[in-house]
């Protein structure tokens, strides 16, 4: 792949106190590429993608996002405006309406007028198919609807890259597909995506590349068809056996 590298992570090491969470992580992502990251709980998946938008600092290594180095002072602020993030717990702003959740960033960080921001927000709410909820509070929505609002909120900033940290793990089973459908559409529109998830059906459908992490390291990467057919490492094989069982 010789497309433009939008994310470049080089020998990344990160510690929480004495505990090494990430060890020598290398990963580059091309524009429009969809990466699914999986691995056991505690393997450092969240920490890795949180490093990409500067929610976590790191001790050594290099991260460049869209040509901007996170090692540079002020780099974090510029990177954040390029990168959207969707959290497991949605993290919607409970004191604001759905519409206000979406318009806050565009108005305060981008300086859009209320009118322009409202128009943009409504457009994105339609894209995630909940325009009728615009004037409700987040807590009056179902989990699946809340997560779609969270996706729309990120998209309002017109990010180049979207990070998803187990976006469906906190959802009731019957709501998972409505969120995944939105994510599939996003992938079809060419968004660069880094998705931490154990939804292997989704991975098979949209992932260009699977990344398997264990113990703070990237153990294996490969296309979904390759790794599902024949994972190279025993650890990945065991992991897949476990999660594909049910």
């Amino acid at each position: 792949m010789n497309a433009e590298r939008v994310i470049e992570i080089k020998s990344l090491n990160k510690f929480f106190g004495d505990f090494q969470v990430l060890t020598n992580v290398d990963l580059s992502v091309s524009l429009g590429e969809r990466i699914v990251i999986c691995g056991p709980s505690g393997s450092g998946k969240s920490t890795l993608i949180r490093c990409v938008n500067g929610l976590e600092q790191f001790e050594s290594g290099q991260i460049r996002v869209d040509g901007i180095s996170l090692n540079d002072p002020g780099g974090v602020d510029r990177v954040r405006s390029e990168v959207g993030m969707v959290f497991q717990q949605f993290n919607l702003f409970p004191h604001l309406t759905v519409l206000e959740n979406l318009t806050l960033g565009p108005m305060k960080a981008r300086g859009l007028s209320r009118k322009a921001a409202d128009a943009l927000a409504m457009q994105l709410l339609e894209r995630v198919r909940i325009p009728e909820q615009a004037h409700k509070r987040p807590r009056d929505l179902s989990g699946g609807q809340q997560q779609r609002v969270a996706i729309a909120r990120s998209l309002c900033m017109k990010p180049k890259i979207m990070l998803f940290d187990e976006p469906t793990s906190a959802l009731d089973p019957e709501m998972i597909s409505e969120v995944l459908d939105v994510m599939v559409e996003l992938a079809e529109d060419g968004m660069t995506m880094l998705v931490v998830t154990h939804e292997m059906g989704f991975a098979r459908k949209v992932a260009d590349r699977m990344v398997f992490m264990d113990g703070g390291e990237i153990v294996e990467t490969g296309t979904p068809s390759a790794v599902f057919e024949a994972p190279k490492s025993q650890r990945f094989k065991d992991f897949l056996d476990k999660i594909l069982q049910h």
Partner: protein
């Protein structure tokens, strides 16, 4: 609340009754509004209300501002930014109000003069500065616990939609924290009102000072100080009524 009022009214009534019965050595005439002397005495005492209220309000406003400015760096991830805030809070909390008042009123002008800022501090501002600083350590802690009660995910989400630190505070964290901050902050205002009595010792003409001055000329401490206590009681009851109302309102908002 209304029970509290009734109890105090009863107590005050009993005292008055005892005074009028003539069995004890009472002299309610000093504050009896039906006599010209009593009326002018009561007017003189009540005349301190405005100064006490003014003192308390300005000190509270300053304390709330200083408290926020101390609390915010106190929550930084960087310990060198956190440190001054911690030191300020521990230091200020350790100083008793009265010595601090003396130091500010008599000592601070000397310090300022030697630094090349010749200022005079009158009783009014001396009291305000002292009350504000002494109270700010507590308001800082109120802000801190209120802000820390907001989940970290809120800040993270705000930062990922491009808000700066101060925008995150202003539009996301503080509006949510305010319902946990306002009631204890209003409660803290009661503390300021009561502590403002110390301003009397540096000559501030507020409620307590006026009572003291009247006692010196009338020799009727019991009656005058009783009225003084009732004056504070009225003030504090009004504020705590407001605090209850605020707590109810904030609680209702939260469960909505």
């Amino acid at each position: 609340m209304t029970r509290g009022v009734k109890l105090w009214a009863l107590l005050a009534g009993m005292l008055l009754l005892a005074g009028c019965s003539g069995t004890g050595n009472w002299g309610w005439y000093v504050i009896d509004p039906s006599t010209p002397q009593g009326q002018s005495n009561v007017k003189f005492l009540i005349g301190g209300f405005w100064a006490t209220i003014q003192l308390s309000l300005i000190a509270a406003a300053l304390s709330m501002t200083i408290g926020l400015l101390v609390a915010l760096p106190g929550m930084s991830a960087n310990r060198w930014i956190r440190l001054p805030s911690r030191v300020y809070i521990e230091f200020v909390r350790a100083i008793p109000l009265l010595p601090m008042l003396f130091w500010v009123f008599y000592g601070l002008p000397v310090v300022m003069r030697s630094l090349g800022f010749p200022i005079t501090i009158d009783a009014f501002w001396g009291a305000i500065i002292t009350l504000a600083i002494s109270d700010s350590a507590f308001t800082a802690e109120i802000y801190r616990s209120g802000i820390q009660s907001i989940p970290k995910g809120q800040t993270e989400a705000a930062r990922t939609v491009g808000l700066t630190y101060s925008q995150t505070m202003r539009y996301v964290v503080l509006p949510q924290a305010i319902r946990r901050i306002l009631p204890p902050l209003a409660n803290q205002f009661i503390y300021i009102v009561k502590m403002s009595a110390f301003a009397s010792v540096i000559g501030m003409q507020e409620l307590t000072r006026r009572a003291n001055e009247l006692v010196v000329t009338e020799y009727r401490p019991l009656e005058i100080y009783t009225l003084l206590i009732l004056e504070y009681l009225v003030l504090v009851l009004i504020i705590s009524f407001f605090v209850r109302w605020l707590e109810r309102k904030m609680g209702a908002d939260e469960s909505r």
